[in-house]
Amino acid sequence: MSLPAMPMPAEDERPFDPPPEYAELRAGATMIRVSCPTGLDAWLISDYAGVREVLGDGRRFSTRPGLAAHVLSSYGPESPIDNFTRMDGPEHVRIRRNFAPQVTHARRLAELRPMVERITDEAITRMLASPQPYPLHSQFSTAITTSVIAELIGVPSSQRHLLHEAAMALFDTSTKADQLREALTPLYTYLYEAVATRRAQPGDDVLSRMIEHSADSDRPLTDTELTEMNAALLIAGFDTTASMITYGLLALLNIPGEWEKLVADPSTAASATEELVRYLAVGTGLLRQATEDTEVNGQPIRAGDYVVVAVQSGNRDMALHADADDFDITRKPGAHLGFGHGAHACVGQQIARMELTTVLRALATRVPTLRVAVPLNEVEWKKDSVVRGPAELPVAWT
């Protein structure tokens, strides 16, 4: 007997909500077996406590198969481990501790804020000087997040197309493994050479700082590891955040009253950011694999079983907020699963928060009349991507 298909988001029907099947599963903390798009069979967990338990326990639930191997066909769970997102325990901690200080340290972020503000201001000035309707996703959101991450790592403008091409292949659910390798090669080649250059002539960029930081450790990072880590930062760093800016603005401009609240008080940009990440989250869940016979929500799970945690559903759990299905940018920021949870929680989450907050505050201040130039049912959504959101968003202002 074949299993039911894993529920997938359908933004053209429900632009801001997870698939409706989740509501009942979540309410009863019920776990079912589903067949995932890549053919894996998995337990589906959709309640907040269950998702948090699985992501928070890397000992019982390994990330070895790859966090998106249930939706990305390029990602075979049996393929060799090629990056830190598929490492467990001390191996992962070693990489993360060389990585994290450059992008999560509160003082370091304070140093980076002026750069993000300058890039955002320049993008708004360009936008205001352009004809309307203006393609927000490609010309504004993606331009800002690409510049920020490229400046962080020290990638010159002439090479920034490399990360766009790599991300397009990586996040496309139809890319095959050999196509992915081919698509990533130019970026990896560029970064591998950049590692050698920065070893010889260090700068103030993240890559140089990682080299310097790891040089004093027991097992300094190899050139290959540095290449992979920086490729991951570059690829994940612009597309997810750009999609969140575009998708977030669509939600803010469509859900009645919310944009007006932000314009009336742009200092709500920080809580608006947190609420957007909670409310929209990631559409396709995260994959783990049980390392031992165990149970979640009283449901036995056998060693080797795959588990998909539905992050977007968990964030709508009434156990988290009685009104979790309401979108309110003044909601007091609290725990949610929008950046994941556990040892593999998004390493770029502080930078993403800073970019989103900066962009929302600046737009609400400088372009208070911003509006979406097409009706909601004419918005074109990304189809084959694991990073959900509008493929483009025409906007206008007066």
Binding site: G56, V93, R96, R97, A100, P101, T104, H105, A106, R107, R108, L109, H213, P333, G334, A335, F339, G340, H341, G342, A343, A345, V347, Q349, Q350
Partner: protein, 64 residues
Amino acid sequence: MKVAVDRDHCIGAGNCAMTAPSVFDQDADEAIVILLTDSPPDSEQDAVQQAVDRCPAAVIRLLP
């Protein structure tokens, strides 16, 4: 209110230092949590509870 942290399992995500900067800092080298005080004033209760809830590695504990 008493607070404890487990530095061995900290992943340096930085949420605590953003949420309750008068109670938590991060070391310069690895961004690992530093507890500035293990007995924060009651006025910080809310912020510390948020830091506990938002810590992805669950390394902050409120002690009775």
